[in-house]
């Protein structure tokens, strides 16, 4: 992680290279457009979103029962079930499963949850080597950098930079940047990993309470490669991944890939249900702040998230600041409403990294009112005392000014006078507005003054 700098600071650094910002913005906007085309070609798109949201409302309201039903069915299917309250417990469970079998190498397919838990680092410290098998995650792992996007982990990297990384770490020829060739290199490398790893860990997209099966969606088939070749299969899932019945997949699978990248469905939607003969299956249900979120009525709907990333692709602030400036595993608008629940002090800046434009809520396939939650988090963060005292002071001064027509009129008049007669007092380097923008022209009189002179009082 890049230390404790806030979003605005990191975003300012990102913006020093305007060409890169344009490129990043354009790449993600292109995906947003693909999403739009795909949504427009899907009959009853808005009804699907509504249905998905309603199913998830039901899940959130009955989470306890669905989880127990899911656990029961998992056990019937021969899957070992674990409950982890936090990252530490989760990581301990994975370590125990592996060390009991004397396994010191594992292949992982993309799981944001294990990124959040910093599982790779935890296992590395204990002598277990983990390789991320999604291409984007793999690239990020080689570069020792967290993902900048939950679906497109290295979207902020140019192909030339990836070529350079491959040259450095995988011995490819210098200057190689053809995506097909680079992918081929990674594939060869990963093929060997899949063949030799005795353990594979995957995330979970949907956990079906009714059947005890879980569904993993990928485009690269890497979750399947890992799972099919291993003797120990582990799945880690957040408590909120439950859906009640298998038929509900018909709603979610239609929405997920279309929302994410404008693709009708992921290439692989793999259902895992019971271990093969001789294989072990383990599933870890992880809380890590979910129960706490469930207990916050204003914010519990964020548990509906299916991690499609569409809110990131549409967010102009995300596109123009880059995922890493959110200094959190899950970035963008959804990250900004999930993170404060986990550590309000550390993430107090994130709900403010938004113009509240509302585009995120409109693309969200499960209709989380993301921008309304951003607004509400701001209120909570200020009330809990995580706002700078300087800001509180100026807000109080503003509230005082605006509560009195007399003070307000005097302040307005003074402000306009300064703009007209002493602009240097405002047009200086201490004024962030003025850095790249001129101040508005200041009129001689306000509308109020004009009105009292020109409009007869009745």
């Amino acid at each position: 992680m890049k230390g404790t700098q806030d979003h605005a600071t990191l975003a300012e650094v990102f913006n020093r290279d305007e060409d890169r910002v344009d490129w990043h913005d354009g790449a993600l906007w292109w995906i947003r457009q693909k999403r739009d085309r795909s949504a427009n070609l899907t009959p009853q798109w808005e009804e699907l979103r509504e249905a998905a949201s309603a199913i998830k409302s039901n899940v959130i309201s009955n989470l306890h029962d669905y989880l127990l039903q899911f656990e029961d069915n998992l056990k019937k299917n021969g899957v070992k079930v674990y409950w982890a309250a936090d990252a530490e417990e989760h990581n301990q469970i994975v370590y125990k499963i592996l060390s009991d079998k004397n396994i010191n190498q594992m292949v992982k397919s993309k799981s944001m949850l294990t990124e959040e838990c910093h599982l790779n680092e935890y296992l590395a410290d204990r002598g277990i080597d983990v390789i991320n098998s999604d291409l984007g995650e793999y690239i990020q792992q080689i570069d020792n950098e967290p993902p900048s996007h939950i679906v497109l982990p290295c979207i902020h990297k140019k192909k030339e930079e990836i070529g350079e990384l491959f040259h450095e770490h995988l011995g490819t020829e210098k200057g190689l940047s053809d995506p097909t060739l680079l992918t081929r290199v990674a594939r060869n490398h990963l093929r060997n990993v899949f063949m030799t790893r005795r353990a594979a860990l995957t995330g979970v997209n949907f956990a079906v309470a009714e059947t005890g099966e879980y569904v993993v969606c990928t485009n690269e088939g890497n979750a399947d490669m890992g799972a099919h070749l291993c003797e120990v299969q582990i799945a880690s899932m957040g408590l909120e991944k439950i859906i009640p019945e298998r038929k509900h997949l018909g709603v979610f699978l239609r929405l997920l890939a279309r929302s994410a990248i404008g693709q009708p469905i992921t290439i692989y939607s793999s259902h895992f249900r019971k271990p093969r003969p001789g294989q072990e299956m383990h599933l870890i249900l992880v809380d890590k702040g979910r129960s706490e979120l469930l207990a916050r009525p204003d914010f519990r709907d964020s548990l509906k998230c299916i991690k499609c990333g569409s809110c990131m692709n549409t967010c102009p602030v995300y596109r123009k600041s880059g995922g890493l400036s959110y200094h959190n595993t899950i970035s963008g608008p959804i990250g900004a409403i999930l993170a404060p629940n986990l550590d309000m002090k550390k993430h107090a800046d994130l709900p403010f990294a938004s113009t509240l434009c509302g585009s995120c809520s409109n693309v969200c396939p499960v209709k989380i009112p993301i921008h309304e939650q951003l607004y509400k988090w701001r209120q909570v963060i200020v009330k809990e005392g995580y706002s700078a005292s300087r800001k509180t002071f100026s807000m109080k001064a503003m509230a005082l000014t605006l509560s009195s027509p007399e003070i307000y009129n005097t302040a307005g008049k003074t402000g306009r006078w300064i703009l007209n007669h002493a602009p240097f007092a405002i047009n200086n380097k201490f004024n962030p507005w003025y850095k790249q923008r001129d101040m508005p022209d200041s009129p001689e009189q306000s509308f109020g003054e004009w009105y009292s002179k020109n409009v007869k009082k009745s």
Binding site: A8, E12, F352, S403, R416, D438, V455
Partner: protein, 248 residues
């Protein structure tokens, strides 16, 4: 029909011409308009910064100023949305609720309440429309590009009544300009980049003017335009709709 004219604080101080145009336009259309002189601000700058709890005195003042009208109309989508969503009162919640129900942004007031279908306005220029996010996604002044739904646009509906005016297109029809209230200060770099990119979209399509139902977005873009010595101007939609007096 008695209309209380709500002129947001920064419009009052910095853009009186937009306010005058709003007043004249409503009067021209036969409305009885008055401007309660003790008004200040809707409280949004504090609320969006996380200090909604400091806005009660603004709310009380607003209710004091605007009770007793048939409608409250303002040339600012963002401030109207704030009142609609957040105006409350400890003393008289009924009065607050009544105002929340009868406050309109100027464009929607013209299309939905006055239901005008002609305008005596002339503005012979190429004009790009900036859909303010609060007007668009908050007040639904036009269809939102993210949704699968029939297209409509109330600002366009009105601008199409203006003689001589040509509406210019955009690549990104409803992208945010990056103003965002105090966001424009706290996140200066991203805010300015967003504004620059919006402007470029307009200028690429030949706009001479950028108009909007929200002056806050326009003020932000104007700052960037002026800094870069651009010939493109910003203009509040009320000034275009009231432009019949302009001599050609």
């Amino acid at each position: 029909m008695k209309i209380g004219l709500f002129i947001p604080c920064y419009v009052n101080q910095l853009y009186p011409n937009a306010a005058i145009a709003t007043l004249e336009l409503l009067q021209k259309l036969g409305a009885e308009v008055s401007y309660p002189s003790k008004q200040t601000c809707c409280g949004q700058p504090m609320a969006n910064s996380g200090y909604e709890h400091l806005t009660q005195s603004c709310n009380d003042l607003f209710i004091e100023n605007f009770s007793g009208f048939d409608y409250v109309v303002a040339p600012s989508a963002s401030c109207v949305l704030h009142i609609k969503d957040h105006l409350h009162s400890h003393a008289d919640e009924n009065a607050a609720s009544e105002i929340r129900g009868k406050i309109y942004e100027l464009v929607e007031f013209l299309t939905d309440i006055l239901k005008i279908d002609t305008l005596d306005a002339y503005f012979p220029h190429k004009v790009g429309i900036h859909q303010s996010c609060h007007g668009l996604r908050g007040l639904h002044l036009a269809q939102m590009s993210e949704l699968v739904a029939p297209d409509f646009s109330k600002p366009k509906q009105l601008l199409n009544m203006v003689k001589g005016l040509e509406i210019t297109e955009l690549d990104r029809v409803d992208e945010c300009c990056g103003f965002g209230g105090l966001f424009c200060i706290a996140e200066e770099a991203v805010s300015v980049k967003m504004g620059k990119d919006r402007i470029t979209d307009h200028t690429n399509h030949g706009a001479e003017y950028i108009t909007s139902p929200d002056l806050s977005c326009l003020m932000h873009m104007e700052g960037i335009l002026q800094r870069n010595n651009s010939k493109v101007k910003i203009i509040h939609i009320a000034e275009i709709l009231n432009s019949s007096s302009i001599k050609v």
